[in-house]
Symmetry: C2
């Protein structure tokens, strides 16, 4: 069961919550925009459904609502940022702007971040580059849910990679993908409906392939993109590892099994080698390579050729990365955002906790 809410209603409530935990007005505005961009784009697992989770991290003193974000090392094209334990929803756009500013100066900018927290959807941050005619990149590590090929243990997060590329008359190319076969949010849907998972999504605690959607909660693991060795899971594992290393080994954040968990009730891993969660951002100015107009007209040509490819039976068209989320955003801006009853209840409890009203 779910209920539709206009964007503005969810937005003004979320803003009040972030202010209630001590965020400045401008930080609360940013965090709200980033968080709800997930709901608008149809990535419901990363949006308002997580609001109470962020609040619980703050209550557990795992999130600093008034971070002093600062650059701790830099060169003309790089920086390392210390997020001071702030919300990733605030640290990430701040840092992406540094990458963009560096790209304005020397063609590209690359920033690795330590001491941050979960940053919402990677797409929001990487898409910031588009308005400057830049390619944008965003990645983050996350707490370990994924078993590398041949491992019984969970050692990697779902570690997403987002790459955004501007086009001319066509909408931008926006690929935002977890480096696992299936995102955790999709598995949660199957769990709720008591359905089986496709082979290749998960393994049980012994490392055997399973279709039991609940296996993850019982000591199992998500599988890297590819699913098993025969289907290239070593590639998904390598991609997740690259995200982990760029985000955390390069910045001094925690990596692998030491990444802080999102649920505040899960104890912190022992012997952490770094600070907080790590992210990595990049921006490349198109005209640092070729004139932006030339590039964009070739991107239009690329997109049109792919979108008009002959399709297999039963499918209308080849999808360009970013198409489904953009279409969803147009619908939800007009018709409202569906929120599950369980999330409505959660938000009502949050409202009560801060003496606010919801809905």
């Amino acid at each position: 069961m779910e209920k539709l809410f206009p964007y503005d209603q969810l937005s003004s409530f979320t803003l009040k919550i972030f202010k209630a935990i001590g965020c400045s007005e401008s930080d609360a505005v940013t965090a709200t925009k980033v968080l709800l961009s997930a709901d608008l784009r149809g990535i419901d697992s990363h949006g308002i459904a997580r609001l109470s989770g962020y609040v619980r991290l703050w209550e557990a003193k795992r999130v600093n609502a008034k971070p002093q974000i600062k650059i701790i090392h830099q060169t003309p094209s790089t920086a390392v940022v210390d997020g001071d334990g702030g919300l990733g929803l605030i640290v990430a756009p701040y840092t992406m702007q540094i990458a963009i500013d560096k790209a304005k100066q020397v063609g590209t900018g690359w920033v690795s971040v330590q001491n941050s927290n979960h940053f919402g959807i990677a797409g929001y941050h990487a898409m910031m580059a588009l308005q400057y005619d830049m390619i944008g990149m965003a990645m983050t590590n996350a707490s370990a849910l994924v078993a590398p090929t041949f491992s019984k243990e969970r050692l990697l997060g779902t570690n997403p990679i987002c790459v955004t590329i501007p086009a001319g008359e066509e909408p931008a190319f926006v690929a935002d993908l977890a480096t696992t076969t299936a995102a955790n949010g999709k598995l949660e849907i199957l769990q709720r409906k008591n359905l089986e998972a496709p082979v290749g999504w998960i393994q049980d605690k012994e490392g055997n392939s399973t279709i039991d959607a609940h296996a993850l909660k019982n000591g199992g693991a998500l599988l890297p993109l590819g699913g098993d060795r025969d289907h290239g899971s070593h590639k998904g594992y390598a991609l997740g590892a690259i995200v982990d290393i760029f985000s955390a080994v390069l910045s001094g954040a925690n990596y692998g099994p030491w990444v802080p968990p999102f649920p505040a009730y899960v104890p912190m891993p022992e012997n952490q080698p770094g600070k907080g969660i790590g992210h990595f951002f990049g921006a490349m100015r198109i005209d640092a390579f070729r004139p932006a107009d030339e590039f964009k007209s070739n991107m239009d040509n690329w997109i049109r050729r792919f979108r008009s490819a002959k399709t297999v039976d039963g499918e209308d068209k080849v999808i360009i990365p970013g198409d489904p989320e953009r279409e969803m955003e147009a619908i939800r801006k007009k018709e409202g955002i569906p929120v599950l009853q369980a999330v409505v209840d959660d938000l009502s409890a949050l409202a009560k906790r801060f003496q606010l009203a919801f809905p």
Copy 2:
């Protein structure tokens, strides 16, 4: 049937061939080293087995043996290089060095290349960065063999991505992966042995999943990493697309279905939008982020934690990307390189063509 050859014997023969088609001494040395690095590392599909293919491209005037490689546009951290139709085996290391030199100056260097040809294994080029304590990246597009999710048509190459990351006492992390479920070379082995392919590797010309290893030759296509939509093929497709766009739309090379084919007898695609094949290279100086020693000791910690993970039954250890190729290289340097009889015959014919001796 195969025969073992010492590296030096294959190397001196290959050098003579490259000189025979008109390469300068130093270019021939480079091309030989790059080509045979594939054989040493166990990626037999990309090594000496392709030597006669490169020669046929030169005979068809699709390769320029004396290229004037030049930078056609640059900023402090970026460049676009025109490969002048040269062998990718020569253009790629030349260009990777430009990326490295830029990283020395401003922290990172990023170079997109037009008007090139097949460059051997991505790993050779990306690994050049390691000796400078830099992270290296190399990618290339290739002629279309891969159908995007829902497409009946082949629109992408196997478009590999290589990322190399230095460590301290441990060997470097080297991930070199085609963005397909399986590399074409693996399929060729099944074809030769008349074995079936696993589900998720290929589709037939109607776009139906098939286990017929010969389907690719009969109008079918390789599938993006993931295999089908349920298993994340839209992610493999997006990754292959990113490689295509960075390598070719950014540089002015051909992209998508317009990339020149490797076999010289296959006609060039019509209405090509760019020049030759495209590549993309990157180098990031570790100490542009944090002190190299600190980084490397954390990489050692990362590698040791993953390598010592509890494994699923029947497997000894979790593999770090680059382990199998490095182990293969140590063996083949000592014991020699196995060459299939068909390739030996091909090389003998090549020897005759240039009045040389092989073996």
